[in-house]
């Protein structure tokens, strides 16, 4: 039966669509980000003690390019909530910063300190996939209500905390990155045969490589890996990796390099003529700091945004929540938000919605158990679109998105081509509830065992 499936049918079966409009059917009870609507009066007695959020992310080192916007996203949401009187109109939000760059052991100690000495009510943030598996179990042990913004490794809910109670995570899981980029490739350049890879040598790059490979095995069975490059995270000299990739005469080069590393990679690749020699696809390049990429960036590259969010989509008036978020963020920080800013902003409002719902049901300030019950299965409309929290694994899911780089007069840096945005329903590229835990990830084994190998 497997041999009968053709690629086009399979992709449309997955719901991989280009240029689809977001179906906006916001119901009356759906919480949204922002505090513009008239607030309902909270029930019962609400204390006016400040609500303390411990926000840990990268404030130093190369990953500050992701951490700083994450903090700004949470800060913006908190300021908005405070301007409207605070949570349930009473409790002002206070954000305490902690630097994730201190290292995993120090981060664990800092989380303990935040809970035991500072008495935080909520722990949020985290960028690195190396940190969530260490902090997750500690947050559970300390019983501190936690929502990781990123740190998106599948390992967290596959293995480290398979039955989470206090911890949640908002942005899409890591495997979605490799899968989304691979599907975009299979749809755009399905005939590619010789594939060269350049990935940073740590868990994210390895994960992206695994999932790119497994999806391509299924949808582009003719494709073979002709070159691998594993630069260290933080590398800015890619001469050797580019030379090697070009020398392997690839049709397509795929990379999960990001941040300042990516800026260096594409600028050097331009001078090596790499973009003339092969097509190019990325998983995260346009997601880290959209404005750090220059006008010299080639167009038509598959431009990954961590399968989460780019501030230009949904565009214009199509999705007012995004328009207003981008405007407010730009007015406050004089830059454009990335997926971390959107994630932290939405996480804050997700919490707010859960608190309000719990108050409506029981009155007074809800305890953590009630907030958790409200968060499980919760859905909110954020700037990026709908996000829901799966009750069984506490993982946030939203439609995966990727696009093509394009220059437009409105911005001094490339954005995603508004006419060619690719979106994929997240449920179709992640392991479903009840799927046995697998190696390297559950999603990997799920794709391996259940997706057919298509005919060309």
């Amino acid at each position: 039966m497997a041999a009968d499936v053709n690629r086009r049918d399979f992709l449309s079966g997955l719901g991989v669509t280009v240029g689809a409009a977001l179906s906006a059917t916001a119901g009356a009870a759906l919480p949204v980000v922002g505090v513009a609507q008239a607030q309902e009066k909270p029930k019962g007695n609400i204390p006016d003690k400040p609500f303390k959020i411990g926000h840990m992310t990268f404030f130093t080192g190369p990953a500050a390019v992701l951490g700083e916007p994450m903090y700004k996203g949470q800060l913006l949401a908190s300021e908005e909530i405070n301007a409207a009187g605070g949570l349930l109109g009473k409790r002002k939000v206070e954000v305490l910063k902690a630097d994730e760059a201190a290292g995993t052991d120090a981060n664990v100690k800092e989380l303990r300190r935040l809970k035991l000495s500072e008495n935080i009510d909520f722990f949020c943030g985290i960028t690195s996939s190396g940190n969530t598996p260490a902090l997750g179990p500690v947050a559970e042990e300390l019983k501190v209500l936690t929502m990781f913004v990123d740190g998106c490794t599948d390992f967290l809910f596959d293995k480290a905390v398979p039955n989470p109670h206090y911890i949640f995570r908002l942005t899409n899981i890591q495997s979605a990155d490799g899968c989304t980029t691979a599907l975009a490739i299979a749809q755009t350049w399905p005939k590619s045969k010789r594939i060269a890879h350049i990935h940073p040598d740590y868990s994210y790059g390895r994960n992206a490589f695994d999932h790119l490979k497994i999806v391509m095995t299924k949808l582009m069975p003719q494709a073979e890996v002709v070159s691998e490059g594993w630069p260290k995270l933080g590398t800015t000299d890619f001469s050797s990796h580019i030379t090697k990739a070009i020398a392997s005469k690839p049709d397509l080069i795929v990379s999960s390099v990001w941040g300042g590393d990516y800026v260096a990679l594409y600028k050097q690749a331009l001078r090596y003529g790499m973009f003339q020699k092969a097509k190019f696809a990325t998983t995260l390049a346009m997601g880290t700091a959209p404005h750090a990429i220059g006008k010299d960036h080639p167009e038509g590259v598959i431009a990954g945004v961590h399968s989460n969010y780019h501030f230009t989509y949904p565009s214009g008036d199509k999705w007012p929540l995004n328009k207003s978020f981008v405007e407010k963020y730009h007015a406050r920080f004089n830059e454009y938000p990335n997926f971390q800013a959107e994630g932290a902003y939405t996480a804050t409002y997700m919490l707010k919605a859960a608190i309000e719902k719990a108050n409506k049901l029981a009155g007074g300030w809800p305890d953590d158990e009630m907030i958790i019950a409200m968060l499980e299965g919760a859905m909110i409309a954020g700037p990026a679109g709908y996000v829901y929290i799966r009750p069984d694994n506490h993982q946030g899911y939203k439609e995966a998105i990727i696009g093509f780089s394009k220059h437009v007069p409105e911005y001094p840096f490339p954005i995603l081509d508004p006419n060619r945005i690719i979106t994929i329903p997240i449920r179709n590229i992640t392991a479903p509830p009840g799927w046995p835990k697998g190696e390297p990830t559950s999603t990997y084994t799920w794709i391996d065992k259940t997706w057919p190998v298509v005919k060309a």
């Binding site: 700083e68 260290k232 990796h241 030379t243 600028k267």
Partner: protein, 291 residues
């Protein structure tokens, strides 16, 4: 064949920048017996200052002007060095080495935060120069012309430094201080002045490395910490305190890394440490080190 040639040029490119960083580190150690952990961030500081001057302040200026601005990073690093040595390092010369390590390591962290504070967390580029040099064709491969300039600067710095140390009066004083500081002082050498000069020169080289590389790579946080680790691999191979060692070490690291990437991508990270470990086992003081 063409590809092999490109690999060789790539290796020399990497070696040039590494030599500028490790050479300064080695020079400072050779003269002052200080292992300057902060050295990597003087390199990063040079990169940031040049990127800021070329990419932000003078953005859009004609390329010759931008090229003239290139060395400002090196000068800034030198000035910073000239301030740091007498104020921060001098009080610790009489203390045990651990104190110096702690102070310079702390300085590494402080400089990292200082750069983040001044220039923010986003990468800073100065790629207009790199773009303007274009590419040249070697066989059927094209190669960024600017990289050849970097190799040229690396080679020029090495020869200049050699001439400076072995052919000038200052070089004699420097070498005398390096061999026996007390004796040099007894003979009337102003050791404090030699120290600040050596430190400034070392910082200038690191800053030059950053300034020359930033048009093709952009300045990012954390680049200095990476650089100091690589520089230590170079001086471990070449021998701490030896300029010849820094040069040979940088060339070895350049070629080993290139070969690792080309043929053993899975162990790209490990291959440099393996090279350093091999040298340490065979010659614990490094290839050119004084035991």
């Amino acid at each position: 064949m063409d590809v092999l040639l490109i690999h060789i040029i790539n290796s020399l490119l990497y070696a040039s920048v590494l030599f500028l960083i490790a050479g300064g580190l080695s020079l400072i150690y050779g003269v002052m017996r200080i292992v300057n952990m902060a050295h990597g961030n003087l390199y990063a500081f040079g990169a940031y200052v040049t990127a800021w001057a070329v990419g932000t302040m003078a953005a859009g200026a004609p390329v010759p002007v931008l090229l003239m601005l290139l060395p400002v990073g090196a000068l800034a690093a030198a000035i910073l060095g000239a301030i740091l040595e007498p104020t921060l390092l001098r009080p610790f010369y009489r203390r045990a080495e651990e104190y110096q390590l702690l102070v310079t390591f702390g300085l590494l962290m402080i400089l990292e935060d200082l750069m983040r504070f001044i220039w923010g967390p986003y990468p800073l580029s100065a790629s207009e120069i790199f773009e303007n040099f274009g590419s040249l064709t070697i066989g059927d491969v094209i190669y960024p012309t600017y990289n050849l300039l970097v190799i040229g600067v690396g080679a020029a710095a090495a020869s200049f430094l050699w001439a400076f140390i072995y052919r000038t009066r200052f070089g004699v004083v420097l070498r005398a201080t390096s061999q026996n500081m007390r004796m040099a002082a007894a003979l009337g050498v102003n050791v404090n002045r030699v120290y600040v000069q050596a430190f400034t020169l070392g910082c200038f080289m690191a800053g030059l490395g950053g300034a020359i590389i930033v048009p093709s790579q952009s300045a990012v946080l954390g680049m200095g910490i990476d650089a100091v680790v690589l520089a230590f691999i170079v001086v471990v191979i070449g021998g701490l305190g030896s300029l010849e060692g820094a040069l040979v070490g940088a060339v070895i690291v350049g070629f080993v890394r290139e070969a690792g990437i080309a043929w053993f991508p899975e162990i790209e990270l490990a291959v440099l440490y393996l090279a350093a470990a091999t040298v340490l086992l065979a010659r614990p003081a490094g290839l050119f080190g004084r035991p």
